[in-house]
């Protein structure tokens, strides 16, 4: 069986159906969010960069922010036939790549991203079924829309599945 690989770039979101694999490479402080309806095998992945579209003026790309990206992704999945009540979420990323103490606001953006994503998911009442967040290393994530597995690859630390 051949899986169809769909790449999700920085500040993008994509959706997939049975036999699709959603993949995002080299997540750092960004957060990768997967929403999945296992009964209909419909999944979506967003690669967000910033916690909130409300904090800044330059916010035309909705996929860039936790709040608007989740809103759009959810709309898209429901349009494809997913049921909101059967959606689950998995999240990864939000690392702090460099340790510098000044201007902790910007540098701890990873943590702020994770918090923003969790808040938004709880607002939508979508349960988080797996997470691999924070730390200080990059991640490549791959979501299999067939079985709902999210595999996470890190440099020098190997692979794990949540």
């Amino acid at each position: 069986m051949n899986n169809n690989v769909i790449k999700v770039g920085m500040a993008e979101y994509k959706t997939g159906k049975e036999n699709d694999v959603l993949i995002t490479l080299g997540l750092g402080s960004c957060v990768g969010i997967v929403l999945y309806d296992k009964f209909r095998k419909i999944g979506g992945m967003a690669h967000i960069m910033l916690p909130s579209s409300k904090e800044i003026k330059n916010n035309s790309n909705k996929a860039k922010f936790a709040d608007t990206a989740l809103e759009e992704l959810l709309k898209e999945l429901i349009k494809m036939g997913a049921s909101k009540s059967s959606l689950i979420a998995k999240i990864a990323g939000g690392a702090q790549m460099f340790n510098i103490s000044i201007k902790s606001n910007t540098l701890n953006i990873g943590k702020r991203n994770v918090i923003a994503v969790k808040e938004k998911l709880s607002e939508y009442r979508i349960a988080i079924k797996g997470e691999d967040v924070l730390g200080n290393h990059g991640r490549t994530i791959e979501f299999n829309c067939n079985n709902g597995e999210l595999s996470i690859k890190t440099i020098g630390k190997g692979k794990k599945i949540i």
């Binding site: 080299g26 910033l50 460099f98 000044i102 953006i109 990059g138 440099i155 020098g156």
Partner: protein, 207 residues
């Protein structure tokens, strides 16, 4: 109207290029002193790029690179990121220690050396900006990370993503014998600092 990144063209680019040129010259000189050999340099290139596309020019999100991150503050504020591909950092360490690094992720000594080189190269740039503009600029202790290019570049992309979709990239090539070291600098002054910088350089004429 304040200064926008989109206004970065013509004379502003030329000024940044000249600063980059002198900065690279200083960097080559400092490096040459440190390793006690002649270091050649090429004229650096400067590009203004879309933040979300910066990963592509480095050769892919999963490519392992070394990032040295520094913030600067005082009269102007911002951050600077030096990216060396793995081959360049291997070459650098070979020149410094006289042998190739054994461990793919380097030992403490080698990481500390990279930190110091990042420090020297970045301060060469900052010094040239400072000398040109008469602005006082201090820099932080550098932080090193060896990881996927995508992850490391998400740091400047996010930082800049809050104010603009564009970012300044200065590419430097230094050479010692057959060892080529290609360094990419991402210069990220905050938006108010552009005004201060261009004004003190005497090129901001819109007011």
């Amino acid at each position: 109207m304040g200064f926008q990144i989109n206004d970065l063209k013509g004379i502003y680019i030329d000024v940044l290029k000249e600063i980059g040129n002198i900065g690279a010259g200083n960097a080559a000189t400092s490096l040459s002193k440190m390793i006690n050999t002649k270091v050649d340099m090429e004229v650096p290139s400067i590009e203004i790029l879309d933040t979300e596309r910066i990963v592509e020019i480095l050769g892919g999100e999963e490519l392992i690179v070394v990032g040295v991150y520094i913030s600067f503050f005082k009269d102007i504020n911002g951050t600077m990121l030096l990216i060396l591909d793995k081959e360049s950092s291997d070459n650098l360490l070979k020149i410094l220690f006289g042998k190739k690094p054994e461990n793919e992720f380097y030992n403490d000594m080698e990481i500390s050396a990279l930190q110091e080189i990042g420090n020297i190269l970045s301060s060469s740039y900052i010094n040239s900006i400072s000398a040109f503009s008469n602005l006082k600029i201090n820099i932080s202790v550098p932080s090193v990370s060896i990881d996927m290019a995508g992850s490391i570049l998400s740091v400047p992309a996010i930082e800049y993503g809050q104010i603009s979709d564009k970012i300044i990239l200065i590419e430097n090539k230094l050479k010692e014998g057959n060892n080529e070291i290609v360094g990419k600098f991402f210069l990220m002054p905050d938006i108010d600092s552009y005004r201060v910088l261009f004004k003190s350089l005497g090129v901001l004429i819109d007011e």
